[in-house]
């Protein structure tokens, strides 16, 4: 039995990291709300992308192992993309402040939920260690 390194904890761990990365991305978008030609970014879970990325027509090969790999997802299982499907502002900036603020609110709740679940797991372990007392 693996008390701490089980899949649920690892999943929570990577989800927390992803949530933090998302928060950083949103902060950066809000910071650049008045920057000309800035394109908003979004953080997505790379699991969702994996299937699309693994299609054969998406293939590229490295000629040297020291080159940066072509489809390297972030170490925490998340990927940062540019938002390109939205209308541009007159100065080329496409940060939608309403969208960013709602995304941030969602991310907050999500993060707090994850922390809550993490605490729940540790509390269960603590209960077991304390022999149910």
């Amino acid at each position: 039995m693996n008390l701490f390194n089980n899949s649920t904890n690892q999943l929570l761990h990577s989800a927390l990291n992803a949530s933090m990365t998302r928060q950083n991305t949103i902060s950066n978008n809000i910071a650049n709300v008045d920057t000309p030609s800035y394109k908003a970014k979004k953080t997505v879970f790379s699991h969702e992308l994996k299937s699309a990325m693994n299609k054969p027509d998406f293939d590229a090969h490295r000629t040297d192992s020291r080159h940066l790999s072509f489809r390297e997802a972030g170490s925490s299982g998340v990927e940062i993309q540019k938002r390109t499907n939205t209308a541009y502002n007159h100065n080329g900036n496409n940060v939608d402040i309403d969208l960013e603020m709602t995304e941030m609110a969602k991310n907050q709740i999500y993060y707090n939920t994850l922390i809550d679940r993490m605490n729940g797991r540790f509390n269960s372990i603590q209960t077991v260690i304390g022999q149910g007392r």
Binding site: T21, Q23, I26, S27, I30, D34, G74, M104, Q108, N112
Partner: protein
């Protein structure tokens, strides 16, 4: 760990600078002696802030590796508005030309107010983002409590 907070902080600094520039423009809306050019006084020119994403080589590399969210914003320079000065007929003014016209700064109070509102709102949005990030970090400290 404090990346997001630094990002928001850079934005707060930039927006505050924008506010300072607006203040300067408003304060000098009637300054006829902004700069001495060839022994002649030129009125104050409206100033504008140019912002750009905070891009270092590290950022570019990180972006290529698809790992970092970016690190905020910076003010690259302050430029002067090149629109023509306002002409007002005021022969008794010490800076009037031979025809009696005085050149006044190209500051449009309306533009400045709009700019000021924009800076205020952006500042507030960034404070909210900073606050959110701070709460997340504090929440993370509660793990295992």
């Amino acid at each position: 760990m404090f990346n997001g907070i630094n990002t928001s902080a850079s934005a707060l600094t930039s927006q505050r600078l924008r506010m300072d520039v607006v203040s300067s423009n408003m304060a000098n809306a009637d300054s006829t002696r902004g700069r001495l050019v060839d022994g002649e006084w030129q009125p104050y020119r409206r100033k504008m802030v140019v912002m750009e994403p905070n891009n270092t080589f590290k950022n570019h590399l990180d972006r290529a590796r698809n790992e970092k969210a970016g690190s905020g914003v910076k003010v690259s320079r302050i430029v002067e508005d090149q629109t023509p000065f306002k002409q007002v007929f005021q022969p008794e003014h010490p800076d009037a030309d031979d025809a009696g016209f005085v050149q006044l700064p190209n500051v449009d109070p309306l533009k400045e107010v709009v700019d000021m509102m924009s800076a205020t709102r952006s500042y507030e949005a960034n404070v909210t983002a900073l606050d959110a990030h701070k709460n997340m970090l504090l929440k993370a400290l509660e793990i295992g409590r």
